[in-house]
């Protein structure tokens, strides 16, 4: 059984589908976590604490990394295969066929954008939070507006507010989310198709569900970004001296 | 030297003949089957089903087709359905009734025993195809559905939407694939048989051209089966596929096989009329349309004039001003008369000046009454794909305006003469399906071509071929380095070289169109002594022109469609003459063969049962010599030929 997941085209699709599904669930979880920030920065930090260098958070992180890596590596493998299958001689004229979504033909491009955004995102947050804890440190001293500031790695709210006080970060993240939106509009219904849970009656429904999920993700993350940008001053002031409860 | 024809029809009661015969003929043991090779030419219903069944039995089979895949054979284009005497509709159908309808539909010019066998195995075909996964139409109860077809008063036609031929062929092709996978059948797509090799008076193999590389190949076998279909393309414009041709059958004729009833050509009544001189193909609209469509022309000449000028639409003509001529002339069968009758009736109306388009060569097929009675949805469900196709081609919406139709060449009942075992006059050479002459007499009923192809391939040939091959069990593998093969290959190569050497001015199609014109005008729906004599002269002259002025571009050792077409046309130019000669000889009207001199006062075909109750079997005597006729008398022991009556 192990082999059909690596050597059969349908097995590879199954892997894409399952890892994709896992990543969608992770994104939805991440989004709901972010939303707590809108209600209470303290609550958000509690979550950050909970997801620090604990064994369960670490296990989760490893699985997540594996999921992303497998999804991405398989995508690259499939693309190479598909490029070969297309043949050396390409069509001189190509068109977008009727009813075919742009996203469906550009999933790898969207994937690269998402990976790029992810790298930036890791630098912005993960490297300053969980990584710091993994390295065994309890404080982190970034330079905020030119002055070194001591921050607890669980003080996610401050980090978020600070990051999104910059308009360019908000803009980059929104572009990133837009790529994710396109990726999900195809990816979400596609994962049902790949495991065979689809038919002509359900295509419109699945595509609708995919758009709803994608839009929910987009709005869920974007609203936090925008509100952080608008309220960053208040939150930075409120959370600058936050320390975790013992 | 005339043929000594032995039809090998078994003695005994009609219903027992086939069982008795099967019991009497020899079989080949499994160990010996492995040593015997069979070549099958053509992958339509006949060829594919025969090759698959022979492969299953254990013979080594090689199958050849000119297309890129066996699945493309022209059987695939049959739309309407396949007949069987299942009596699932409880309308008192039976093997005898199917037999009777078929022999009557063929205007009493087919063998009783062959036709009865066809009706007898028809039921097995349906069972076989269902088991292969052919998605026949079904009723809500899950059982098989039927529709009616021309020439029958019962509903015995099984169908798969408008794609019955396709589905049956995919079934036979799947069976063939099963055997190809098992190694018992080897497939040679894009290969064309260019000659049959005869040694010691027996079929020993073929010379074939690989159509991709141009290579000339030799293939030996203990028996050769011709399943290459009909020769309707002699008319250039027909409902046949572009590459359908008579060449494989013609090579057999050239090498000494008798060719029977070449003039029996079926002109199908419901085709889309010709639109212009650049047309290369006629499109058939399924006969099933006649179930619900009504055929008419205006009663008044002034309406015809207005239609031609485009000042009125067909729907503007009042009910009482329409002449539903089939219902008028044939009250019992109405729009469901056999094809030859419907075609001639259309020609009669058009000749009388009632043709409804600019060319005067079209009649209406109207669904107005059916739409009113059943609703547009039902009609759409039944014929939607045909209606769409019609609109695509003609730019007219058949839900609103009646279709225009006109007869076109569709099927050739004539073909290589075979005995009851389907063997030709050359031992070891068999012909099945449309390529032979056996079952349809002078006219074929709708939904019977598929039946015959599969009957021959699945249920007849696999048994009867054993009778011959049982004598070959000691025979070694056929060697292909013998003088007979050398000679055949040399002749083929010379013929090809000769074609290239002509370097004339006319393309193959230019000449083919002219041949088609001669055939349609003189050897078409109505033939006379004068027209046939004219045709023979004109074809001879055209043939000379072909061999002096054809232009074949490209090379012999490459993929060269022009060369393929030239080789086929060379044979059509002889076959056309043979058809005209046969038609000239047959001084009667029967089925698809209508001699204007021989008609009743009402304009119906008038048979001459005194003088022409025989199959006319022709023997080749050289390109420019008259062929020799041998007659196989047809003995009607069980049915009595009567004037066909579709009136009451």
């Amino acid at each position: 059984m192990s082999c059909f997941l690596t050597n059969s085209s349908l097995g590879k699709k199954l892997v894409m589908s399952v890892t994709g599904c896992f990543l969608v669930l992770f994104i939805l979880f991440h989004m709901s976590m972010n939303i707590t920030l809108l209600f209470s920065p303290e609550a958000y930090n509690m979550v950050c604490e909970f997801l620090g260098a604990n064994w369960y958070a670490l296990v989760g992180t490893v699985i997540l990394v594996a999921g992303i890596a497998i999804h991405f590596i398989y995508a690259l493998m499939l693309t190479v295969d598909n490029y070969r299958a297309r043949g050396k001689q390409r069509y001189a004229v190509t068109v977008k066929e009727k009813g075919v979504e742009w996203a469906s033909k550009n999933m790898l491009l969207l994937g690269w954008i998402i990976i790029g955004g992810l790298a930036l995102h890791l630098i912005h947050f993960w490297s300053k939070m969980q990584l710091v804890e993994i390295m065994g440190s309890h404080y982190f001293t970034p330079e905020i507006d030119g002055t070194a500031t001591v921050i607890n790695p669980a003080n996610g709210a401050l980090l978020v507010a600070y990051t999104f006080s910059k308009w360019y970060n908000v803009l980059i993240y929104i572009l990133w989310l837009a790529a994710l939106w396109f990726h999900l509009t195809h990816g979400v219904w596609s994962m049902f198709q790949s495991v065979g849970w689809a038919n002509d009656t359900w295509y419109p429904r699945l595509k609708c569900i995919a758009k709803i999920v994608a839009t929910l993700v987009l709005l869920g993350f974007a609203v936090v970004l925008i509100l952080m940008y608008l309220n960053s001053g208040d939150i930075i002031a409120q959370m600058s001296h936050w320390v975790p409860e013992a | 030297m005339a043929f000594k024809l032995d039809s090998k029809i078994p003695a005994g009661e009609l219903a027992q003949k086939w069982s008795n015969h099967k019991a009497a003929i020899k079989v080949v043991s499994p160990a010996n089957k492995r040593k015997l090779d069979i070549i099958v030419i053509g992958t339509g219903l006949g060829g594919a089903s025969a090759a698959a069944s022979l492969g299953e039995l254990g013979y080594n089979v090689k199958i050849f087709c000119i297309q890129d895949s066996p699945r493309r054979a022209h059987s695939i284009a049959a739309q309407g359905g396949i007949n069987a005497a299942k009596n699932y509709q409880n309308d008192n159908d039976s093997v005898y009734r199917l037999f009777y309808d078929t022999i009557k539909g063929g205007d009493y010019r087919a063998r009783e025993a062959n036709v009865y066998r066809l009706a007898e195995v028809s039921n097995l075909i349906i069972d076989q195809c269902v088991a292969q996964g052919v998605p026949f139409a079904r009723e809500y109860g899950g059982l098989l559905a039927n529709r009616s077809f021309g020439g029958a008063q019962v509903s015995r036609t099984f169908y798969a939407r408008g794609q019955t031929g396709q589905q049956l062929l995919l079934g036979a092709y799947a069976a063939l694939n099963k055997e190809i996978a098992a190694g018992s059948v080897k497939s040679y797509p894009r290969h064309e048989m260019l000659d049959i090799v005869i040694e010691d008076g027996e079929a020993r193999g073929i010379i074939a051209r690989n159509l991709v590389t141009g290579e000339i190949e030799r293939h030996g076998a203990h028996a050769v089966v011709i399943a290459s279909g009909g020769y309707g393309n002699v008319f250039f414009l027909s409902t046949n596929a572009m590459a359908s041709n008579g060449s494989a059958a013609f090579q057999c004729y050239r090498k000494g096989a008798g060719f029977a009833n070449p003039c029996f050509t079926q002109i199908h009544p419901t085709c889309i009329p010709v639109h212009g001189t650049q047309q290369s193909k006629l499109t058939l609209m399924s006969e099933s349309l006649r179930n619900d469509g009504r055929i008419w022309v205006p009663k008044k000449k002034e309406d015809v004039e207005k239609l031609r000028k485009g000042t009125i639409k067909p729907s503007d003509i009042k009910e009482e001003d329409r002449d539903y001529y089939l219902e008028r002339r044939y009250p019992a069968f109405g729009n469901l008369v056999p094809r030859d009758v419907a075609s001639r009736a259309a020609k009669e109306r058009c000749d009388a000046g009632f043709g409804v388009n600019e060319t005067g060569l079209a009649v209406f097929l109207d669904f107005k009454t059916a739409i009113e009675r059943l609703g547009k949805d039902v009609i759409k469900q039944r014929y939607g794909n045909l209606f769409d196709m019609y609109e695509e081609i003609t730019d007219t919406n058949p839900y609103e305006q009646p279709m225009q139709i006109f007869p076109a060449v569709h099927y050739t009942m004539g073909g290589i003469w075979v005995d009851y075992n389907l063997m030709t006059t050359i031992p070891g050479l068999y012909a099945i399906g449309e390529a032979n002459f056996s079952d349809h007499g002078a006219n074929r009923l709708g939904a019977s071509a598929l039946m015959q192809g599969l009957a021959d391939g699945y249920f007849v040939l696999p048994y009867t071929i054993g009778d011959y091959l049982s004598h070959k069990i000691q025979a070694p593998k056929v060697k292909t380095d013998t003088p007979a093969f050398d000679e055949a290959e040399k002749a083929v190569k010379e013929k090809i070289a000769k074609l290239f050497a002509i370097k004339g001015k006319q393309s193959v199609d230019d000449i083919h169109k002219r041949l088609g014109h001669i055939m349609w005008e003189n050897v078409g729906m109505a033939r006379t002594k004068e027209s046939l004599e004219r045709a023979i002269k004109e074809i001879q002259a055209l043939r000379k022109e072909f061999w002096a002025d054809v232009k074949v571009v490209g090379t012999a050792d490459s993929f060269n469609v022009e060369l393929e077409k030239a080789l086929r046309l060379a044979d059509f130019l002889e076959l056309g003459e043979l058809m005209a000669r046969d038609a000239l000889m047959r001084e009667e009207s029967c089925g698809g063969h209508f001699r204007s001199e021989h008609q009743t006062e009402e304009g119906e075909a008038k048979r001459d049962d005194e003088n022409f109750v025989y199959a006319a079997v022709w023997e080749y005597k050289g390109m420019d010599n008259e062929p020799e006729l041998t007659k196989e008398p047809l003995n009607f022991e069980f049915v009595h030929p009567a004037q066909r009556n579709y009136k009451d």
């Binding site: 059969s8 349908l10 598909n82 009813g99 | 297309q67 699932y88 650049q278 196709m389 571009v553």
Partner: protein, 247 residues
């Protein structure tokens, strides 16, 4: 009507090909696309040039022989028809029409616009059949089949094997073709018997022959001349995965 045609010409499988430009004039709008090609070819023959090789046969849209990638579309810009069913009235007078052969590694060019689609035969030989012998079968009505299932089977069985799906797919995947056969037989009790074996064997053969991987773009169903739905691909996926999980 007049047209400028840019047609791919290639001597044989080994040669390099290139586009050649031709002009055809005085074409009636009622002429079919392939009749227009016939006219071009007849002109070329009279000029002593080799005609353009292209596959075609029945010209009724059922044999699956015709191909051609016309202005970026398999079987031309019309929906749900094969190349042989397109009429010139659907083009603009004076239009330039680009005609290319199917492009897919599994469909090598034989000459000009003719490609080798033997790979599709090989996939069907791997399992696209029901293993019944001639004459050892029950009565046709022995097993009732719900009309809905028979209809669905027929929907899939309408596939003509033309190759447009793999030729259109940006991944060169033959999934729609394979799915059509697997699904058609899977919907019938007769085909159900060896359903698992069939799905595995045909998918393995498809992969082996160098077709690409399906990424669910749906381009195949958009260009399929028989409008076969990707729902059949879903069924193939289900058939295949359940077969694999039973191993």
């Amino acid at each position: 009507m007049n047209f400028t045609l840019k047609i791919w010409r290639q001597k044989d499988a080994k040669s390099h090909g290139a586009f050649e430009t031709y002009k055809v004039s005085d074409i009636s709008p009622d002429t079919s696309f392939l009749e227009m090609m016939d006219i071009l070819n007849n002109n070329l023959i009279h000029e002593g040039k080799e005609p353009v090789a292209f596959d075609h046969d029945c010209r009724e849209g059922i044999c699956g022989m015709c191909s051609l990638h016309i202005n970026g579309h398999a079987h031309g810009p019309e929906q749900a028809v094969t190349t042989c069913q397109i009429y010139m009235r659907k083009f603009r007078d004076g239009q330039t029409i680009v005609i290319e052969p199917w492009r897919s590694a599994a469909f090598p060019v034989i000459k000009d616009l003719v490609v080798d689609r033997g790979a599709y035969d090989k996939i069907l030989q791997a399992g696209g059949f029901v293993s019944v012998r001639t004459n050892s079968v029950p009565d046709g009505n022995a097993i009732p089949i719900p009309k809905k299932d028979a209809d669905e089977s027929m929907d899939a069985a309408a596939c003509v094997g033309c190759g447009a799906c793999a030729a259109t797919c940006k991944n060169g995947s033959a999934m729609l073709f394979v799915a059509a056969r697997v699904s058609s037989l899977a919907k019938l009790p007769q085909g159900r018997v060896e359903g698992a074996r069939r799905a595995k064997a045909m998918v393995a053969k498809m992969d082996e022959l160098g077709f690409g991987n399906c990424t669910n773009t749906g381009a195949c169903q958009a260009e399929c001349p028989k409008s076969i739905s990707i729902a059949h691909i879903a069924r193939l996926n289900r058939e295949f995965l359940s077969a694999k999980f039973e191993d």
